[in-house]
């Protein structure tokens, strides 16, 4: 897959850089960054995005609220979303997925695991589109 556009929503510059570092494995991809949910929603109004990777614990607007708003918007409701968070408890995972996230990854992240999850989502999306 070439030319993918990712939106990384993370308040931590360290994590933004680390996630972007992993995403650069996708040839020709564009990585957009947002520091919280509100910033992400602004970016979504003006930018075309193929996939969103978001943290949960962020100031201004957290990741769960962001996921729920994205799912309510007809323009973005089917956009693949991955939650990447320190909240690794089973109930947190279930809550994130119930709100509409497509995948849930607990920190600390493994680059290979992140790439596998993204590839699986892209494949799933491509199968759905072909049907």
């Amino acid at each position: 897959m070439e030319g993918l556009r990712f939106l990384v929503v993370e308040d931590s510059p360290t994590m933004r850089q680390l996630i972007s570092f992993s995403l650069k494995r996708f040839k020709g991809c564009t990585i957009l960054e947002a520091v919280d949910g509100v910033d992400a929603l602004k970016k979504l109004q003006t930018e075309e995005v193929d996939m969103i990777l978001t943290d949960i614990n962020m100031p201004v607007m957290d990741g769960l609220k962001l996921v729920s708003l994205i799912r309510q918007n007809p323009k973005t409701k089917s956009m693949p979303i991955i939650i990447i968070t320190t909240e690794g408890a089973k109930e947190d995972r279930e809550r994130g997925l119930a709100l509409g996230a497509d995948a849930y990854i607990s920190k600390p992240i493994q680059s290979s695991n992140l790439l596998k999850v993204i590839n699986d989502l892209l494949e799933k999306q491509s199968t759905t589109t072909n049907e």
Binding site: S12, T14, M15, L18, T86, A89, P108, Q110
Partner: protein, 277 residues
């Protein structure tokens, strides 16, 4: 005379009959001879065919042995290739892991040296400990040069009003690490482990050369993390040196900034012309 003739006729008849019987017998003998000859010829021919079949069988046996040898060779090669494949897959996983570790170390190092603001540096150290190591409860302690005691300057996972005790160099696990400059780890906490400021899971000295300027104490890992991994130890080594340098540099920078502001204030005061009211 007539009787003689009649006898003669009878005898000749009998003789002819006997001859006829002999002729039949001879014909039977000839037929039997012919049949036996045919059988002999047939047996001779069969014997020749059996020899040729035996030769063919030998050739087939040899071919089969050759094919089996080739099959064994191919099987051996296939197993070798499969082993090589497994080896490559294992190496790929190792390279991926190494790549992941290097990315973590690169990002941590890059972020640590991205600012000279003391608070920002501390915040980055905390981010690294939370996001890259996966710690839930931890504290960063710095050495007070005047009192030679370690005091907490930042923590995560504790109640805001929690008062951390100061620790003298050489006292307990934390003081011992600050004195010796060697890290302390318990890879996996027992079931009875309780978070205790004096008994961390790991205590990492922050060192500039041999001089310990502080320590990082990790008390609890995130729920999804069972134990420290190989990259955590690499990160601890990196933090021991790079976080120490970054903290120390930013502290010096803040102090020099403050001094510079004070001096600038004095200079402004001295150079400002006094106006008579």
């Amino acid at each position: 005379m007539a009787e003689e003739h009649s006898d003669m006729f009878k005898k000749s008849q009998e003789f002819l009959q006997m001859l006829s019987k002999q002729k039949d017998f001879i014909q039977d003998l000839l037929k039997e001879n012919e049949r036996l000859r045919f059988q002999v010829a047939s047996l001779e021919s069969r014997s020749g065919n059996a020899q040729s079949a035996e030769a063919e069988l030998d050739a087939l046996r040899q071919r089969l042995a050759k094919i089996e040898r080739e099959r064994n060779e191919l099987e051996a090669r296939y197993q070798k290739v499969e082993e090589e494949n497994k080896d490559f897959a294992q190496r790929y996983v190792e390279v991926e892991e190494q790549n992941n570790n290097l990315a973590n170390l690169y990002v941590a190092s890059y972020q640590l040296h991205s600012t000279l603001d003391f608070q920002e540096v501390i915040h980055i150290v905390m981010e690294i400990i939370i996001n890259l190591v996966g710690a839930e409860i931890f504290a960063i302690m710095l050495m007070d040069e005047k009192t030679n005691e370690l005091g907490v300057i930042a923590s995560e996972g504790y109640e805001e009003d929690f008062v951390f005790p100061t620790i003298k160099i050489g006292d307990g696990i934390v003081g011992g690490v600050a004195k010796a400059g060697e890290p302390y780890y318990i890879n996996q906490a027992g079931d009875d482990y309780q978070v205790d400021a004096a008994h961390p899971l790991s205590c990492i000295p922050l060192k500039i050369k041999e001089n310990v300027i502080g320590v990082i104490n990790i008390y609890k890992l995130l729920v999804q993390k069972d134990a420290f991994t190989a990259v955590d130890y690499e990160l601890f080594s990196l933090l021991a040196a790079h976080a120490a340098t970054a903290i120390f540099s930013s502290k010096l920078y803040s102090q020099s900034e403050r001094k510079l502001n004070t001096i600038q204030g004095f200079l402004d005061l001295l150079t400002t012309p006094v106006t008579k009211s």
